[in-house]
Symmetry: D2
């Protein structure tokens, strides 16, 4: 059994649900074959989320960590490739914090790449019938903050644990009156099951996955 | 029991599925309370679809007719408000036909408005947790062709039957590798059940539903 | 000399400029060869704009009338093909009026098609180096209201005058901080000069210009 | 006189123009007050562009270097904040090269941040009447390749020279028949003049400029 930690966020920006936490919970209840999945819910708060992540890692001793976040406007599961050492909050977080142009980790490297086989993950989600693509920016809000902190933790303390971040679309119920892409939790969870099954492959695919800009 | 006819289209443009037919079938199997739903599959062919529609109407003697079509790129269920008397095919239909600047019905009026209570329909879909909005163009391909022909048939021969057209997003499996909005059939069918339940209300809502352009 | 009437709107929705009026004025100052262009500014008010349009038509006795409007979010010049007999205001107009589900002309036909050679117009704009396309909805706000009223006036009183409507993108200065497509007045005016030169051709092009939905 | 080096790219992907080179040339001819601008055209070829950039830097001995690239689909000037150490070409470059998952600089850091005052630059462009925003991904094609190589060169050999990268929209003539945002060279050059004037300020602004994802 491969031990997986999936994190999702609490609702933010006035919403009452967050598709990332709904998906994490769904996979904990119904994990992929051969995997045990622990779901942890993180605060959408710069000064709390990383402590919560660290505790969840300590308690579940995972071999793979995938943090999930909500990306309203994106139509598909986006596997993030790079976390940057920058907090720059466009809106306040759930505790009113709004850091500007501050590093996630003082003195840390400018960026970390995910250590998941990101292209194999994208391919596996698509093969399961769910749209997916690579992304080269996780933004500069709490999602990127947690992603960077995760990769820093793994790089400095747990080098054998694989880690990454996946953004998921809004839920249909979050975009009722304003046209925006959405996927229900069952679809997202189905794609994430396929993603996790690919997360432990030894060698990533050699296929183009980049963007022109 | 209210008798409802739902039509969907066969796949087109190289696809192997069409979300409109998948949704129509789902509602025939599991209709809203108090309704019997007949599903009819139309060819994506200008010169066949209207004959098929007319036969389906004759066979099912519906009180409400809602034609469904696929709108790749739209993120929500869009209730069409107006059908125009114009065929102008950007691509060939499934039989290779590509009419340009031809009326749907020679000598017919320039347009028909749907006779569904379109705003009550949009509100009901949203209340069911599925995104929806009004649309003021059904394009100029086979969807608009069928919509116009339906409204002409009802106006000239069956004035007590209500009719309209709803575009539904692509299925997730149709947009695997290219980012585009999508909804699975279960979500679309859930929204359409709510829509049908509102389709028989006597008076439409008085709420803004327009667009600036 | 062909006499052309171009109308533009005053600013609305809190803006201090309207690209449609800026473009109309530019063409009055510097018209296409062989044309005299009168520019008239219309109120963005349902209950005033049509009276102003009628007076401008009476005063300038045009052979061609093209009304212009602003379409924030559209990236190119869009030649409208159809005006519908429906006012449904999403926001109040500049006098606070917000009609809902009201016909533009009581008892008028459901729609009018533009009598410009719309495909030749689109082709001419593109040939001049400016992006353009056909549109099948001018919305349900003051733009569509004026477009419908124009076509009704021409159909019922001035059948030899050609008429149509063109939406133009926002100006760069209107979208400084929020990413949205924009074109400066010089570019729009350049495209409109080409459009007007094509507006008097006898026969429209036979090319596909439709949309799938 | 502040010495500025501006680079633009040759056309690629079948186009006959590149707005980045058109803009660079325009600024060399008509630079901002107090600045001399050298324009250098780079090949859209992974294995040539960096050598060309290095030679241009050596020849012009600039105090500020801004590389420009084309971002079809983006509506505004986007000031790139971060360059990543990754080549992953979705399409072949102009010499047929298509590197996959290769570092720009073997053994280099995962990323570099631009050393321009990026928020002051965005603000200055907007104040000049041209839309602009920050971007947190320059893609993984030749643009990011050159941006990363520039920042590596400056960090390792020329630490007093400021550098950054700005993506500019397509030209109107590049998107004639497919709706996509565009700005003409005069508008882009006007915004870039304002940007360069801000590029030498000592301290960046403290305003939110981030993205949620």
């Amino acid at each position: 059994m491969t031990r997986v930690l999936l994190t999702g966020f609490e609702p933010f920006a006035g919403d009452s649900v967050n598709p990332s936490w709904a998906a994490a919970r769904a996979l904990a209840v119904d994990p992929p074959a051969g995997m045990s999945v622990t779901a942890a819910r993180l605060s959408c708060v710069f000064d709390r989320a990383v402590g919560e992540l660290r505790r969840a890692v300590e308690e579940s001793a995972p071999e793979v960590v995938v943090c999930l976040g909500q990306a309203t406007g994106r139509p598909d599961l986006t596997v993030e490739r790079v976390a940057i050492n920058l907090d720059d909050a466009r809106i306040p977080d759930n505790a009113g914090g709004q850091p500007l142009d501050r590093p996630v980790v003082e003195g840390g490297p400018a960026a970390y790449f995910a250590t998941l086989p990101v292209k194999a993950c994208v391919a596996a989600v698509r093969e399961s019938g769910v749209p997916a693509s690579l992304s080269h920016t996780a933004g500069t809000f709490v999602c990127n903050h947690v992603f960077y902190a995760l990769m820093h933790l793994l790089a400095t303390e747990l080098p054998t644990v694989r880690g990454g971040f996946v953004h998921v679309p809004a839920l249909p119920e979050q975009v009722l009156a304003q046209p925006a892409p959405a996927l229900p939790t069952a679809t997202v969870a189905h794609g994430l099951r396929a993603l996790l099954s690919a997360a432990t492959v030894a060698t990533d695919l050699r296929t183009p996955g980049g963007t022109l800009h």
